[in-house]
């Protein structure tokens, strides 16, 4: 039997297959099909063998949800809400697109004529001020159906404090709605803040028909091929969920693909005994950074997919800046060199691709300096690259305005691009209290490994660690991710007034539901965990601190945490965040967050390692590469054939089908027992 991870990206669908019996892994890459990604998905799986009955688990990291949101290709949906609050979704939190300029407008995913209001009202303390008018709910539902809505979102004001009105309305709505696409705010996000709850619930409804349809097609395709195992989806929180949960809560897949990559990075690094890493994915238009401390990645409580499109559900924290391989270098009217945010992306792409872009990009600079092999480009399906065109573009747009010759201008572009990437690394490390010197940089995706040494230098990181297959990291993450469900409930009381038993009952309810989902998934787990956190603050503060609370459980029964332990945990977390406490401040508890985790068995990464034959450790050639103001005759190696224990001193280029690694002078690369490449500064001697 095997476990299969499938990551569908913009260009390629990556497959990672682990044979459980032999422990052997294999990888495959096929083109992504559009608009329906299920074609490429099934083709990719079958490229590994037609007999799907030998597969026990298929885990999918998907961008279907992200793309539907970004491209606004969700379903036609309606919204039913409290009288007086019809426009919450459109009014947002009264923000604007950009600080400066004041231009642009906003179209919410549900236009105003499909946002209907019904008489009902719950107060902030949970009192029902106006009971729900069910006839009005039914009438609204019929109106939305008559308008052609395929899904509906239901959001009542203060439903986090008492969901009774909303639940009664949900029951009436589900009784008459012709499909399962009914998204209810108190089920999806019973948390205070009506815009964030409305947006999350509405985006869930917006995705539901599309994502559920896609997943149903995939599952049918798998079953037709003889597949009899479990089909799981990666969530934005880095955990997996069963396909039926994903159909119910598609909004939780918004960052599925990148999250799987970070999970894999954490596992690879921890296996290699470097549990503190910063991952960097250099894409066409952006640089995505994530920090993993002690093997754990941080979760962000919410993200904006686009202006006004807020998804509030725990997500692996990934910081993105607009500096990727396709980012355009330009000199502003004040004579300052800038990189991005404008990008040539992958189409038309860099000037050297010859597809119509004539402004220099970061990739063009790498080509002109010999760091990318112009005769053997990776990924894009091109035969050769036009180095002369890249040189001309750099001269025209950067060299001439700054008075620099071509090579110096190209190095300047990389220096500024690296500085921007380093800024993103500082943002996730120094700015959050982590010392970069403890961390290793792990590039994944196609472009990151060219910048690894520069970033290690610039941020004073400990080393770089290039995984053996950086191009299929996300697919590998699918195979190892744990099953995880997150729950939230707003409590909003002072700690003194907190009812410990009531809190215990809430945790119990979350834990029971989480365990039920683990049981229902059919997956075998190595272990199960329930973790809780309280969002807490001093009275008067609006920003909360996440306070982890140790939880006691016996035979599935929760022992309620006591107030003293909570108070101590809060002070510890608060001091860590702000270095001082507030004397005499009243502690408040805003939300309970519970996570239930089913640990999936891991596999031994050393099965991916190369052989030991020292004969493969020789360079296959050399070419001139420009580094730090001088051309170096640089040895070229085939990375995947390098045996365990190989040591290569910079300058060197290590090529493999999905990435190019630059080892700069002063650095030394070695192949570890897992086939990872560890790049460190050579000891000063």
């Amino acid at each position: 039997m095997s476990i299969v991870g499938v990551d569908v990206g913009g260009t390629f669908t990556d497959i990672f297959i682990l044979d459980e019996a032999t422990g052997k892994a294999s990888v495959a890459k096929v083109p992504t099909t559009r608009p329906d990604q299920s074609g490429g998905f099934l083709a990719g799986i079958k490229s590994a063998g037609d007999d799907l009955s030998a597969m026990r688990t298929v885990v999918h990291g998907t961008t279907a949800g992200t793309n539907a949101l970004l491209e606004r290709k969700g379903a036609k949906i309606g919204l039913i809400t409290t009288q007086g609050f019809r426009d919450t979704l459109e009014m947002r939190r009264r923000d604007r697109r950009a600080t400066w300029g004041l231009r642009g407008d906003f179209d919410p995913v549900v236009p105003r004529d499909r946002r209907l209001q019904v008489p009902e009202r719950t107060l902030a303390d949970g009192t029902i001020e106006t009971p729900i008018d069910l006839a009005a709910v039914e009438a609204a539902a019929h109106d939305l159906l008559a308008m052609g809505c395929e899904a509906v979102a239901l959001v009542f004001i203060n439903a986090y404090a008492n969901p009774a009105n909303e639940q009664a309305a949900a029951q009436a709505l589900r009784a008459l709605w012709p499909n399962p696409h009914v998204s209810v705010s108190s089920e999806i996000l019973p948390e205070i803040r009506e815009f964030e709850r409305t947006s999350t619930t509405a985006l869930n409804a917006y995705l539901q028909p599309e994502v559920a349809g896609y997943l149903t097609r995939l599952e049918a395709g798998l079953r037709d091929g003889g597949f009899g195992g479990e089909f799981l989806l990666v969530q934005s929180n880095g955990g997996v969920m069963a396909v039926d949960t994903a159909c119910r809560l598609p909004v939780r897949t918004a960052l599925s693909g990148p999250a799987a990559g970070v999970i894999a990075a954490a596992y690879i690094a921890t296996s290699a005994s470097y549990a503190d890493i910063i991952t960097g994915d250099v894409g066409g238009t952006s640089f995505d950074v994530s920090l993993i401390a002690d093997g754990q990645s941080a979760l962000a409580p919410q993200t904006s997919i686009d202006f006004g499109m807020v998804v509030r559900t725990p997500m692996i924290e990934i910081t993105t800046i607009g500096a990727g391989g396709g980012s355009i270098a330009w000199v502003d009217k004040g004579g300052l060199l800038n990189i991005g945010p404008e990008s040539a992306g992958s189409d038309p792409g860099p000037v050297a691709y010859g597809r119509g872009n004539d402004r220099p990009t970061v990739t063009d600079a790498n080509i002109v300096l010999g760091r990318i092999d112009a005769d053997k480009p990776i990924g894009g399906g091109l035969e050769t690259l036009d180095v002369d065109a890249a040189k001309r573009a750099i001269d025209t747009h950067v060299g001439t305005p700054l008075g620099l010759v071509t090579e110096d201008a190209a190095e300047a572009i990389l220096k500024v691009a690296n500085a921007r990437m380093a800024g993103a690394i500082r943002l996730v490390s120094i700015e959050r209290g982590h010392d970069p010197q403890r961390f290793s940089f792990m590039p994944f995706g196609g472009g990151g490994a060219l910048h690894a040494c520069a970033l290690v230098d610039e941020c004073e990181l400990a080393r770089a660690l290039v995984p053996r297959f950086p191009g299929v990291t996300s697919a590998l993450g699918c195979v190892i991710a744990d099953m995880r469900q997150d729950f939230v409930q707003t409590i909003n009381t002072s700690l003194n007034a907190l009812d410990e038993d009531e809190l215990g009952a809430m945790i119990q309810q979350h834990a029971d539901e989480g365990m039920r989902l683990l049981d229902a998934s059919g997956v075998r787990f190595g272990g199960r965990d329930v973790q809780i956190e309280l969002d807490m603050a001093y009275a008067g503060q609006t920003h909360t601190v996440a306070v982890p609370i140790p939880l006691q459980m016996n035979d599935g029964h929760v022992t309620p945490p006591d107030r003293n332990a909570i108070a101590n945990a809060f002070e510890e977390a608060y001091r860590a965040a702000f270095s001082r406490l507030l004397d005499g401040g009243v502690q408040r508890v805003l939300n309970l967050r519970t996570s239930t985790i089913g640990r999936r068995p891991k596999f031994d990464l050393s099965t991916l390692a190369p052989g030991q034959d020292k004969a493969d450790a020789e360079p296959y050639g050399s070419r001139p590469v420009r580094i730090a103001g001088a051309w170096h005759d640089t040895a070229l190696y085939d990375r995947l054939t390098l045996p365990v224990g190989t040591i290569v001193d910079g300058p060197a280029i290590l090529a493999q089908p999905d990435t190019t690694i630059l080892v700069e002078p002063g650095f030394r690369a070695s192949v570890d027992t897992y086939g990872n490449l560890i790049i460190e500064r050579q000891a000063a001697s």
Partner: protein
């Protein structure tokens, strides 16, 4: 200090590093501040300032736009104070809120810290944040009937809060005794001190890796570059003179309209902004001090040219002329609490004048008032409560699109607290929190819609205070676009609904349980002639309920009827 040469690449790298330091100071205060005006609305700012002149060198991107120009004056005030006293030392932190020397209003508490390197003053770091309450006659300090600063809030001139590293607790005691919300004040003060600590730490690290000479050279170069950028933008404009006039409703005391007048004069790469013809100093609090006026011009310019840096060099090719006795150059102790309303009107007239020269770069007027509404009372257990917030409205239309519905003010990036947070914290219930139909200024691209907020009291009694504008004069359209709806505020009394005599300003409105106040905010002005709006766009607005049929017929004619939306 000796000036080192600096290459353009190091300059680009250093500019990013220093901007990141200021951004990180912003983020530190946002996370740790106690009052929601800083924590949620980001009414705060941080930056690095020139050691000799106090000019802005670098400022954070996430702070409040108006502070970008005004912080330099806070630093200049401290430079003068230190020169006078002659005791500037490493580890000092000055604190003050005096708006006549530091700009804006008394709610903004400014902390300024000299930064020393090798025993020599290198630059200043500063932090400003809007505190929740600093005494005065009205909780939250928006007092529309103040005649002197003394009725607005306690006034603190620049004093040393920290003396060579030693916190002067008696200064803190004075401040905390003069606020209704001492805990909030203490929390915000801690947050601002933490932000300055962090700035020092980061600057130390930067100077360690690049050297003081190189960073100093970068400071100089960044100013030159900002100036060059501004000159290039100005040179691209046609030469000429363009004027515009708009009005404030009144000063909160006498119901007389107050003209705000501007003339923009472009010659080559130089711009003169002349406010001749603007109303004289008023008895009520719509005055602003000169630093605020200069900062506001910067905000307007940066909205027109968004890529300009937050650096004082931008202002070198610009001359600002303000008549001595005008409400734009008020002196102590003229009240300045409503400065937001005045600077919003200044931005409006600068946009309206510039639209005559370069309409394609200008958006029509936004809603033009922050509507500071506070409702305050005592709970049954005697605990005081103050619900204070600013409310949103529509943005102006532009060449590319309709205006944004329910945006924040151009001088701010503040978000609004959610209704559920307000209802959980205060004894009120929002009966309505919605877009306001027919509030947008018609145009080829109409303005965005304003909002309706209707708030009901759930306690026995309370008082409401409003400081708003645009009750008499609507936000203007540009390039042929029409005006938006005016601001409207009404409140329930025992005899039915009433409106303030001064339109959008009123102190101490008594409310009983079940009574409501209702705020209807302006939309944004329209862009381009309304008769060029497509029938489909008009029909869509009607179908969505943004526009009533009657109003559509009135402003666009009946040609839209039958058009598919």
């Amino acid at each position: 200090m000796a000036e080192a040469e600096i290459d353009p690449i190091t300059l680009a790298v250093l500019a990013g590093r220093m901007e990141q330091i200021a951004d990180e100071m912003d983020a530190t205060l946002f996370r740790s501040a106690f009052n929601p005006i800083i924590a949620e609305a980001h009414d705060a700012s941080h930056g690095l300032y020139d050691a000799k002149t106090g000019d802005t060198l670098i400022q954070g991107k996430s702070g409040l736009p108006i502070f970008v120009g005004v912080m330099a004056f806070a630093v200049k005030a401290v430079i003068e104070k230190a020169a006078h006293d002659g005791d500037l030392a490493d580890g000092d932190v000055y604190i003050f809120n005096d708006a006549h020397i530091g700009g804006t209003h008394l709610s903004d508490m400014r902390l300024v810290r000299p930064y020393f390197r090798d025993g020599e003053l290198f630059c200043y770091l500063a932090s400003v944040g809007h505190w929740h309450d600093l005494g005065g006659a009205v909780p939250g300090n928006y007092n529309p009937s103040a005649r002197e600063v003394f009725q607005e809030a306690v006034v603190l001139p620049p004093v040393k809060l920290v003396r060579a590293g030693v916190v002067q607790t008696d200064i803190i005691d004075i401040i905390l005794r003069n606020t209704r919300l001492p805990q909030s004040a203490r929390g915000d003060l801690n947050g601002q001190l933490s932000a300055l600590d962090l700035g020092v730490k980061r600057l130390d690290a930067l100077l360690d890796s690049y050297g003081a000479d190189t960073v100093s050279a970068a400071f100089t170069k960044l100013g030159d570059r900002a100036e060059a950028l501004m000159r290039t933008e100005l040179a691209d404009l046609p030469d000429g003179r363009w004027e515009a006039t708009d009005y404030l409703d009144n000063d909160g005391i006498t119901d007389t309209a107050l003209p705000i007048k501007v003339a923009l004069d472009v010659k080559g790469d130089h711009l003169t902004i002349d406010f001749k013809g603007t109303a004289p100093v008023t008895a009520g609090p719509v005055n602003i001090a000169l630093p605020t006026t200069i900062a506001c011009c910067y905000v307007a310019i940066k909205h027109i040219f968004p890529s300009l840096p937050a650096n004082a060099g931008v202002m070198r090719p610009i001359t600002i002329k303000v008549p001595d006795d005008s409400l734009l150059s008020a002196e102590f102790p003229a009240p300045t609490g409503g400065y937001t309303e005045t600077i919003l009107r200044m931005i409006d007239v600068i946009f309206s004048a510039a639209a005559q020269a370069i309409p394609e770069r200008i958006v029509a007027n936004a809603y033009g008032t922050i509507n500071a509404l506070s409702i305050a009372g005592q709970r049954a257990n005697g605990q005081r409560w103050v619900m204070f917030s600013f409310y949103g409205g529509g943005h102006g239309g532009s060449l590319e699109s309709d205006g944004l519905n329910h945006g924040n003010a151009p001088i701010s990036t503040a978000t609004i607290p959610p209704a559920e947070i307000l209802e959980a914290a205060y004894p009120v219930m929002f009966r309505q929190w919605a877009l306001r139909p027919d509030s947008a200024g018609p145009g080829t691209h109409r303005g965005g819609l304003g909002a309706i907020y209707e708030i009901e009291l759930l306690e026995e009694e309370a008082e409401a205070f409003l400081f708003g504008e645009r009750g008499r004069f609507a936000p203007q359209g540009v390039a042929g676009g029409a005006d938006a709806a005016k601001n409207r505020f009404t409140y329930e009394t025992d005899k039915g609904w009433a409106e303030p005599e001064l339109a959008s300003k009123k102190v101490g409105i008594p409310l009983k349980r079940g009574q409501r106040v209702r705020l209807e905010t302006p939309g944004g002005g329209g862009y381009g002639p309304p008769d060029q709006r497509t029938p489909g766009a008009i029909a869509r607005d009607v179908a969505l309920g943004f526009l009533s049929q009657a109003r559509a017929d009135e402003v666009y004619g009946t040609g839209w009827r039958g058009a598919g939306s």
